[in-house]
């Protein structure tokens, strides 16, 4: 293979992984920005989404669109239930909320282990074939992930910037109390934001299921990535999550192709330390006003 092809494929892989990380990080940073909860269970919703899709699309051979809707919808319901039962009580209590989310992660991951077993499942590819531009081939299976993730990010952006509920969410993120005084129903916004974040994670899981294999343990790695990305991009910043996610995806892909996968992880950690030292509010984050 010539250098061009390797480079192009590395970029495509980096963008694909990066976009998945972007989806994970946006959901994570939204939940933190609005509810002030660091959600260690975020990756478990990714795992549940991927598993449900594997069962619906892979094992039961349901139509693609139906499988996606059902997988994301069911995971969103699980998220709603968790918000009702657990997270609601820890709103604003950062430390206890975080510990509770670890408990939720333990419960979800091991319930999946008991229900679905520990063996990895593969999902048949949604599309096959390649796109060839100027002699360089891109597999459609990966392009679909990138396109799907871009669509999700764009529609989320439309929702947050142009709709009533999106404006309300941004208001709550800035100051929940003042927002409530202005007549925004915080009790509705909190679960809505949580479910939206969870749905993004579930959608990321659905997109990745045909590319990777699915097992109960796949949730932790994307959670770690979401953490790294929000520290780099700035906690609570959505553009920061996009930049950070793509940066991490590309670092991972390039270092993985040309050096070694674990070097990529160490590099990411060094980037985090450098950002914390030089620009503590994150690349695109704003300095936080202390309450």
């Amino acid at each position: 293979m010539s250098m061009d092809i390797i480079l192009a494929q590395t970029v495509v892989n980096g963008l694909m992984v990066g976009m998945i990380y972007v989806l994970m990080a946006i959901g994570f940073t939204m939940v933190f920005g609005i509810m002030r909860i660091v959600n260690f269970a975020h990756g478990e919703f990714y795992m549940v989404g991927a598993f449900l899709f594997a069962i619906l699309y892979g094992s039961n051979e349901m139509p693609f669109a139906v499988s996606v809707l059902l997988a994301v919808g069911a995971t969103a319901l699980l998220g709603l239930a968790m918000e009702r039962v657990v997270f609601r009580r820890f709103r604003g209590n950062e430390i206890n909320g975080m510990i509770a989310s670890v408990g939720v992660a333990l419960i979800i991951q091991n319930s999946a282990l008991l229900m679905w077993g520990s063996s990895a499942r593969t999902v048949p590819p949604v599309v096959s074939g390649v796109l060839s531009i100027g002699g360089i081939v891109f597999p459609w299976s990966r392009l679909v992930v990138i396109i799907g993730a871009i669509l999700a990010v764009v529609s989320l952006n439309l929702l947050v910037v142009h709709t009533r509920i999106g404006r309300a969410m941004r208001a709550v993120a800035q100051d929940a109390e003042i927002a409530q005084v202005q007549g925004i129903r915080v009790d509705v916004i909190f679960p809505a934001a949580f479910v939206l974040g969870v749905s993004l994670a579930a959608f990321a899981g659905v997109l990745m299921a045909p590319v990777l294999s699915v097992s109960p343990f796949i949730g932790l790695a994307p959670t770690l990535k979401a953490f790294v990305i929000v520290v780099i991009g700035g906690l609570g910043s959505v553009p920061g999550a996009v930049v950070g996610g793509l940066l991490i995806g590309l670092i991972e892909s390039f270092a993985g192709t040309f050096v070694s996968a674990s070097l990529a992880e160490i590099l990411q950690f060094l980037v985090v330390i450098a950002v914390v030292l030089l620009r503590p509010q994150g690349l695109l984050g704003r300095k936080e006003r202390e309450a």
Binding site: F32, V38, F40, V86, R89, F90, E94, I95, N96, M98, I99, A100, V102, G103, V104, A105, L106, I107, Q109, N110, S111, L113, L114, L220, L224, F227, V228, V230, V231, L235, S260, S262, E265, I266, F269, V272, I273, V276, L277, P280, E288, E290
Partner: protein
């Protein structure tokens, strides 16, 4: 909330508990119980380390990472011929130095960032252990780590190792208790209570938190090394994120305030995995459920129930003045 341990009743209680722990090998039905007690001692040290960090208002999700570093340092040095009794302390020191450097950088930020970076550090520690296979043995780990020997007396079997582990745990417990009663301990508690107010009283809260993180992680390094010389084996799987989570569970379920909390948490949660060994998933679900339920209904941990109960006992004889001293 400091325990008023100067009362004779408490001294008797502590004495009885220590006596039971010391005499355990004589009335334990079999070696398995001694093994469980040894694991409990090691867990207690790890949870106390976590408690010291929590005392200064921080939460370390990378606690297992420091235990892993300590375990590898001690294993590698002792396999090179260093005496294990020395390498235990070297392991603690190395973990403490790493924590001090990392803490100095990340503790300047808000609590959440600290948690995220400490968590990322523990993942990196696991990856390095996997990747540097020429030194660490990769995924297979290091087998045949030398046992600890004290002036020629080799602690190879379980009944011989247990007194040493118990001694280490009791010393850690005593030192933690003394730390909590020292001026530094007060500064730590004040930092956790209200960082800005403490800062305005002229206390460098950043320094206090870095010191707490350094001490706590140093203890984790020592305990990780102790466990490695007990099991005579270490691998990257020895201390993963889920180990860090189980220490956190013990701390939260037991209680974060005094030294009693970690003891209660370890006593309640160490035997649980052994009872549920057949269904590994179920054990984790129970841990998770206990964690969430405790945070909801007993946020100060099971040890706080003792205080509540004692407070009620004091109220009963209509002696309201004595209740005042129970209030933190």
């Amino acid at each position: 909330m400091t325990l008023p341990t100067t009362k004779p009743v408490h001294l008797v209680g502590v004495g009885v508990a220590v006596a039971v722990a010391v005499l355990l090998p004589w009335f334990a039905p079999n070696q398995f119980y001694i093994h469980l007690a040894t694991v409990g001692c090691i867990n207690l040290m790890l949870v106390l380390g976590l408690a010291i960090i929590a005392r200064a208002g921080q939460l370390s999700m990378g606690h297992g990472g420091f235990a892993l570093v300590g375990g590898y340092v001690s294993a590698l040095l002792s396999m090179k011929g260093w005496p294990p009794l020395l390498t235990l302390f070297v392991a603690g020191l190395v973990a403490a130095v790493i924590a001090a450097a990392l803490g100095w950088i990340i503790l300047r930020l808000r609590g959440v960032y600290f948690v995220l970076v400490a968590f990322a550090f523990s993942q990196i520690a696991v990856l390095l252990a996997l990747d540097m296979s020429s030194i660490t043995g990769g995924a297979n780990g290091l087998v045949g780590v030398p046992p600890i020997s004290i002036v020629g007396y080799v602690l190879r079997a379980k009944p011989q190792f247990y007194p040493f582990a118990l001694g280490c745990a009791l010393v850690t417990l005593l030192l933690t208790w003394l730390l909590y009663r020292s001026p530094l301990g007060t500064m730590m508690a004040a930092t956790a209570e209200n960082q800005r107010l403490t800062e305005s009283s002229g206390i460098d809260t950043h320094r206090v938190q870095v010191i707490a993180f350094t001490i706590g992680s140093g203890i984790a390094g020592f305990a990780g090394a102790l466990s490695t010389h007990y099991l005579r084996f270490i691998s990257p799987d020895s201390y993963t994120f889920w180990e860090s989570v189980s220490y956190l569970t013990m701390l939260v379920v037991g209680g974060r305030d005094g030294v009693l909390g970690p003891v209660v948490g370890v006593l309640v949660l160490t035997p649980l995995p052994e009872l549920l060994r057949s269904t590994e998933g179920l054990q984790h679900i129970i841990y998770g459920t206990m964690l969430v339920l405790c945070l909801m209904f007993v946020p100060n941990g099971l040890a706080s129930l003792v205080h509540t109960w004692r407070a009620r006992q004091h109220v009963a004889p209509a002696n309201a003045t004595r209740v005042v001293e129970e209030v933190p």
